[in-house]
Symmetry: C2
């Protein structure tokens, strides 16, 4: 009974320490590149959940189809994604991240990785191994939970 509570506490401390730091990082990146956070969020979703339709965008980000359409229009205009017609349903659009868009996202992630790498390098080889194993556990568990 005390063990799970303790575990939960550590998870929370971790999230507190790192999540909003990441948020600020993305925000800065967004500003430096001229894109907005919502636009970047869409590219990120496309990046690691693959192509989808407009409706999925508006559902996942909880905005109206109109808003989704306008955001996507801007991203398509600068060439970060492509809007193709879904062959199985000519009303629907199939949104795919372009190579340029993928590069963009990778570059943004790269910047945020830096401090994480720096952080990692302050650990001993032994500790790094421990952390690796633990994070792998978490990553796998997360994949499992997403189905």
């Amino acid at each position: 009974m005390t063990k799970p509570a303790q575990f939960s506490k550590i998870l929370r401390a971790w999230m507190d320490a790192f999540m909003h730091r990441s948020m600020r990082g993305w925000h800065r990146f967004a500003k430096s590149t001229g894109l907005s956070m919502p636009q970047i969020s869409i590219l990120m979703q496309l990046h690691h959940r693959g192509p989808c339709g407009m409706s999925e965008i508006s559902e996942r980000f909880d905005i109206t189809p109109a808003a989704a359409s306008q955001l996507v229009e801007k991203l398509a205009h600068v060439g970060y994604l492509e809007r193709a017609e879904d062959p199985s349903d000519r009303r629907a659009k199939l949104l795919t991240l372009s190579a340029k868009g993928a590069d963009f996202i990778k570059q943004g992630a790269e910047e945020r990785y830096r401090w994480m790498d720096k952080l990692a390098n302050t650990l001993s080889a032994e500790d790094q191994k421990k952390v690796s194993e633990a994070l792998t556990l978490l990553i796998d568990a997360a994949k499992e939970m997403d189905k």
Copy 2:
């Protein structure tokens, strides 16, 4: 040589998997409460870096003093923070999170913790212990790096 690269890869996989999920979580929370992301970011900074002046806000979020002043004004108006005069410099203001503001932030974090807890519960007791130790290492390292 291959070990550090491997470690770095795992750190990145972790960040990819979790960070933007957290971002979406905060965004939803923001919308549901009527505050904006910038406002919440300020409260979060106050929450875990303690009181500071206006200038620190504008520096850390990379906005003009004017913008910082306006954001803080709104937060003060709804009672999430207090703007007191710095006794050592009567030009400067000392921003502190109010109890109400602290509650607000905790509640927002609470919501995002939920899936993390769910995730944690899919792990065996043994794995939970491994993860706990590893995250503690990371948290301590981060504190160290922040000086």
